[in-house]
């Protein structure tokens, strides 16, 4: 759909209604209609709280009612991002963005980061993460794919840098209590904290794929 701001700026967006999601998929990932649309929007709020480069990586997303689609429940409205899917080129071309995306996936408990869930904008050399409905997972939840994290680990990017350590400390001190705890269920919030704490504990390495805690 096309959006137009009050000052005339136009943008393209996608709307994913909560009641349009397949029940079986939700169940398999341990999610609900509500948790899934919340996770989409919360991933963006997390990116905003973390700041750059995460605000550039994650597609902006908000919860909205679109009454012509569904009178009963909101959905996740995401700004469209440019680029192509199915490309591993950004791992080579923009390794710093790739590494940051891996940390974001590890921290946010992303359950299905396959190569259709990121976009590579070669013109602007920008990696964009899309589709965060299956994230903020708990310990027992399924992980289907974690490609960005897998590639970072395989390439030896296990150790966390000083900036990443600082970011995780700030996440525990500010981001989780102020941004996430009021919105996530207690179990998902505990798992989020546990993931940050696990990465901060020696030897201070990024989590492995599917380690949701």
């Amino acid at each position: 759909m096309r959006l137009r701001s009050s000052d005339g700026v136009q943008a393209r967006a996608f709307f994913k209604p909560a009641n349009g999601m397949r029940q079986r998929s939700l169940e398999l990932f341990g999610q609900t209609r509500a948790s899934c649309v919340l996770a989409e929007a919360l991933a963006w709020r997390l990116a905003v709280a973390l700041g750059a480069p995460y605000t550039d990586l994650v597609a902006p997303c908000v919860l909205r009612f679109v009454e012509t689609v569904d009178m009963d429940a909101p959905g996740a409205m995401s700004l469209a991002r440019p680029g192509v899917d199915e490309s591993y080129a950004p791992a080579e071309r923009v390794p710093a963005q790739w590494a940051a995306a891996a940390l974001f996936d590890a921290l946010s408990g992303q359950q299905d980061r396959h190569c259709g869930n990121w976009l590579w904008d070669e013109e602007d050399l920008a990696l964009h993460l899309i589709d965060h409905g299956y994230s903020f997972a708990c310990r027992s939840d399924h992980c289907a794919n974690s490609e960005i994290l897998r590639v970072r680990r395989e390439r030896g990017g296990l150790a966390l840098g000083d900036a990443e350590i600082d970011l995780l400390n700030r996440t525990l001190e500010e981001v989780e209590p102020l941004v996430l705890r009021r919105i996530l269920t207690s179990s998902r919030s505990r798992s989020f904290r546990a993931r940050a704490q696990a990465m901060l504990a020696p030897p201070r390495v990024i989590l492995r794929e599917g380690a949701f805690h």
Binding site: S25, L28, D85, G116, L119
Partner: protein, 104 residues
């Protein structure tokens, strides 16, 4: 046999395009056709719609094909099953209702 279509939503209503199809018969080689055959990622892991376990194509090709709808679900690319000899049960689930509309 499972037949899956892969759709790219268009910029306007009714402009969506089927860019690839996959036909999977038992353990035969998958038949992939369309303008963008490469988007059918045979290496992708999916959650089995019947068992909930993570599977790859080689584990069970038909079940893998049937389960692609849970994986290809982004606004940029969607999978849709158009034929399935043994469809997985699809629970309806409870609709989410988060507000009571008040009409003045």
């Amino acid at each position: 046999m499972v037949h899956v279509e892969f759709w790219r939503p268009g910029r306007e209503i009714d402009r969506s395009e089927c860019v690839a199809t996959l036909t999977q018969r038992g353990r035969e080689a998958p038949k992939i056709e369309g303008r963008e055959p490469d988007i059918v990622d045979l290496d992708r892991m999916v959650l089995s719609m019947n068992t909930g376990r993570t599977i790859c194509w080689d584990d069970d090709p038909e079940e893998w094909a049937r389960s692609l709808v849970g994986s290809y679900r982004s606004p940029y690319l969607l999978a849709e099953i158009v034929h399935d000899d043994h469809p997985a049960p699809e629970p309806t689930g409870k609709r989410l209702v988060v507000r009571q509309r008040v009409r003045g």
